[in-house]
């Protein structure tokens, strides 16, 4: 075990993946010698050479197109998109190409080796274009897996699993926690399962569900609720597609209430999908409407960053409203 922040855990996972499998490559804007603008790929070029860890020209559609080609030839590219806000030039290569590669060819070809890493989310005074949480654009695309870790231990295990999973996987990293989140991380190689939610705290009154950086916020809200005598079951979804319907359903059947929280805007956010599924699987168990605590339906603001965010206070209030419905 050693104490690592989230960036170090990711760097460590990439290091292990490259060391164990010569088919693994890391590339993207500033990823090479510089080690990425957040330094997630530090020292990888020195260790594995310029042919396996390198800078690309500044073209997101080119980066993912290139990665698709490499993956279709049996390599395992890990492509970095510097900020999730800049993933959209690559949308076609992700949605129309990576996601459909296996299906459209009848499995003659696939890009299962592809992993896309990208820092997402607010809280770093990034305004409109360094703050977005675009996960729901991708959960609506069959063929992709979408994974978001909450802390260094989770990040390392989930990233190694994503790299080795034989499906194109988008791995969104909560950049607000890159240096803020630290914890004990095993130095050895390990994987955490994809498609499996993690019950962080058991409870009886309400299920509180989130992912990524939102888990830290929810932990605070849940602690506040506990002081009021409300017992919350806290769940980190971890993989958004395919998501663990069973674990969430079982929890809601026990508690009778559900709150889902994410930073992305309310309308079209992934909470809506979860709510629709859970009202089907848990209709007769529900004691209050499923609550969504999310970002507003605005672009991500700069000056009103705090007001926009689904913070612990908004979640605390929503928990109380749900329980006293």
């Amino acid at each position: 075990m050693s104490n690592m922040n989230l960036l170090q855990a990711i760097n460590n996972a990439l290091d292990i993946a490259m060391d164990k499998d010569s088919k693994v490559l890391c590339f993207g804007e500033d990823v090479g010698h510089f080690g990425g603008v957040f330094r997630a790929t530090s020292h990888l070029q020195e260790k594995y050479g310029k042919s396996r860890c390198f800078n690309t020209p500044l073209t997101e559609q080119g980066i993912i197109g290139f990665a698709n080609g490499l993956a279709s030839g049996g390599h395992k590219p890990i492509a970095e998109i510097q900020f999730a806000d800049y993933i959209f030039p690559a949308f076609d290569q992700i949605v129309n190409e990576a996601a459909k590669f296996r299906y459209r060819s009848g499995n003659e070809f696939n890009v299962g080796g592809l992993t896309i890493r990208s820092p997402y989310g607010g809280g770093i005074h990034g305004g409109l274009y360094h703050s977005q949480s675009p996960e729901a654009y991708f959960t609506g695309t069959p063929g992709l897996k979408v994974v978001i870790p909450r802390n260094p231990y989770q990040a390392k295990g989930l990233l190694l699993a994503s790299i080795r999973d034989d499906n194109p996987t988008i791995f969104f990293e909560p950049k607000r926690l890159y240096r803020a989140s630290t914890g004990e991380v095993p130095e050895e190689d390990y994987e955490l399962p994809l498609g499996k939610a993690d019950i962080m705290q058991e409870g009886t009154d309400i299920t509180v569900l989130g992912w990524g950086a939102q888990m830290e916020v929810l932990e605070k809200a849940v602690a506040m609720a506990a002081e009021d005598g409300i017992s919350c079951e806290l769940i980190d979804l971890r993989t958004l597609m395919p998501w663990d319907v069973e674990t969430v359903s079982q929890s809601v059947q026990k508690t009778g209430r559900l709150l889902i929280s994410h930073e992305a805007p309310l309308s079209g956010g992934f909470a809506g999908e979860i709510a629709a599924t859970i009202q089907e699987t848990c209709f007769l168990y529900l004691e209050s409407p499923i609550a969504r605590v999310t970002g507003l339906d605005t672009p991500f603001p700069l000056a009103h960053d705090k007001e926009y965010m689904p913070d612990h206070l908004k979640n605390y209030e929503a928990i109380k409203r749900s329980v006293s419905f």
């Binding site: 080119g62 698709n68 080609g69 490499l70 030839g73 390599h75 076609d92 190409e97 299906y103 063929g143």
Partner: protein, 400 residues
């Protein structure tokens, strides 16, 4: 030539003290022509590496594609298949270039390159299974007609979005370079697709990463109805490649010997020197864009006739006859045999049932996740209830 001029410009370009604007006239792109329409060779032209066997294989593919295209466009009009795209008039471009490659060089095509696949040996019945989206289609009946693909023949499955194969070709070629393989990727696209962002991303990355790739532009004059004069203002596609650090060559795309020669030379540059090359083949789409298109709304019969006189298949036939390798009698005989074979294969493929309903959810992921299995189970239960509404699948559904 272009490259040495390019590097000279970088190192020896003069400094000026009053504004000097450069323009397209600073770079002229010649067109390679080897074969005249009457089958004779231009004086001084150097022939490609071609023997009787290769020449006849190319011509056999020409004849096969003509038979397939003519029959399948009729089949679409009869309502037997939903859609079709011919490549009439452009056969020399894709078939001539594929003939210059090693059998295991990856082909990443756009969609109008069935000739390249035929040259690789894709069986007639496989063409038909794809066109009829039946259960023997390698693509499991999932894509519209003409979206062929074969892992065994190194022909990447076609994807409808234009130009997406271009950066993928760079990545695939980078893989060859990493593994130190003596292979290259050929990537086909049209002059219309060269307006897509993916084209510019790809050509730039190919130049930067020095990958063994050949970008083959079929400049056929039209993107559906839009003429190339409304597609770009510069001198075609080839000069763009020079700006991105590639070598470029323009060829008469209806001259199969010129296409073959240019691609053989390009392959050497790509494989031996990791020098990416762009080939611009000047040709003409004699048919409609697809069976959903009618060219009479945007171009004249006169223009079409002018290009029909430059038919690449006839041109090559004249040369073969002059070589003493072919005759009009053989020609008529083989054309007739191909037409009959296509008709027979079509009738067979029509009888093959649609893919099983279970294949609706396979290959979305490596293994179907639970939610997909649940959706399939619900769908099957529904089909069992209303079998008449789903005749393709209801008869074969399991009755567990």
């Amino acid at each position: 030539m272009a490259t040495s001029k390019q590097s000279a410009k970088q190192s020896e370009a003069p400094v000026v003290h009053n504004p000097v604007f450069i323009d397209g006239s600073d770079l002229t792109t010649p067109t390679l022509k080897i074969l005249r329409q009457d089958g004779s060779i231009y004086e001084g032209a150097e022939l490609p590496d071609i023997d009787k066997e290769l020449a006849l294989k190319i011509y056999d593919t020409f004849q096969f594609i003509r038979a397939l295209d003519e029959r399948m466009i009729a089949a679409q009009r009869q309502g037997r298949i939903s859609f079709y795209m011919t490549q009439i008039g452009e056969e020399a471009a894709d078939i001539g270039s594929t003939a210059a490659l090693a059998h295991d060089d990856m082909i990443m095509a756009q969609y109008r390159e069935q000739g390249a696949l035929a040259f690789r040996g894709f069986p007639l019945d496989q063409f038909m299974h794809q066109l009829f989206s039946n259960e023997k289609d390698l693509g499991k009946g999932r894509q519209m007609p003409i979206h062929y693909g074969s892992s065994e023949l190194n022909y990447m499955t076609i994807s409808s979005p234009l130009g997406t194969q271009l950066p993928q070709a760079v990545g695939y070629a980078y893989g060859y370079k990493l593994e130190e393989k003596d292979n290259c990727v050929i990537c086909y696209f049209g002059e219309g697709a060269a307006s897509e962002g993916d084209f510019h991303a790809a050509i730039n990355m190919a130049g930067v990463f020095k990958v063994p790739a050949i970008f083959f532009c079929r400049n056929n004059g039209y993107a559906i109805s839009t003429p190339s004069s409304e597609q770009f203002a510069g001198d075609g596609i080839a000069p763009r490649a020079v700006a991105y650090g590639l070598k470029a060559i323009r060829v008469d795309g209806n001259d199969v010997l010129a296409v073959l020669k240019a691609t053989q030379e390009a392959r050497k540059l790509a494989v031996e020197h990791n020098q990416p090359v762009l080939i611009e083949a000047m040709t003409y789409r004699l048919g409609a864009h697809s069976t959903s298109d009618d060219p009479s709304g945007y171009r004249s019969k006169k223009e079409e006739e002018k290009w029909r006189e430059k038919d690449p298949v006839l041109r090559f036939k004249h040369w073969l006859i002059q070589q003493g390798w072919w005759s009009e009698e053989q020609d008529a005989e083989v054309a007739d045999a191909k037409r009959k074979a296509v008709m027979a294969a079509m009738k067979e493929a029509e009888k093959v049932p649609a893919p099983h309903i279970d294949d609706l959810i396979t290959d979305v992921y490596d293994t179907p996740p639970k939610h997909l299995q649940d959706q399939l189970d619900a769908l099957k239960a529904h089909i069992r209830k209303y079998p008449d509404a789903y005749p393709k699948t209801a008869g074969r559904i399991d009755h567990e």
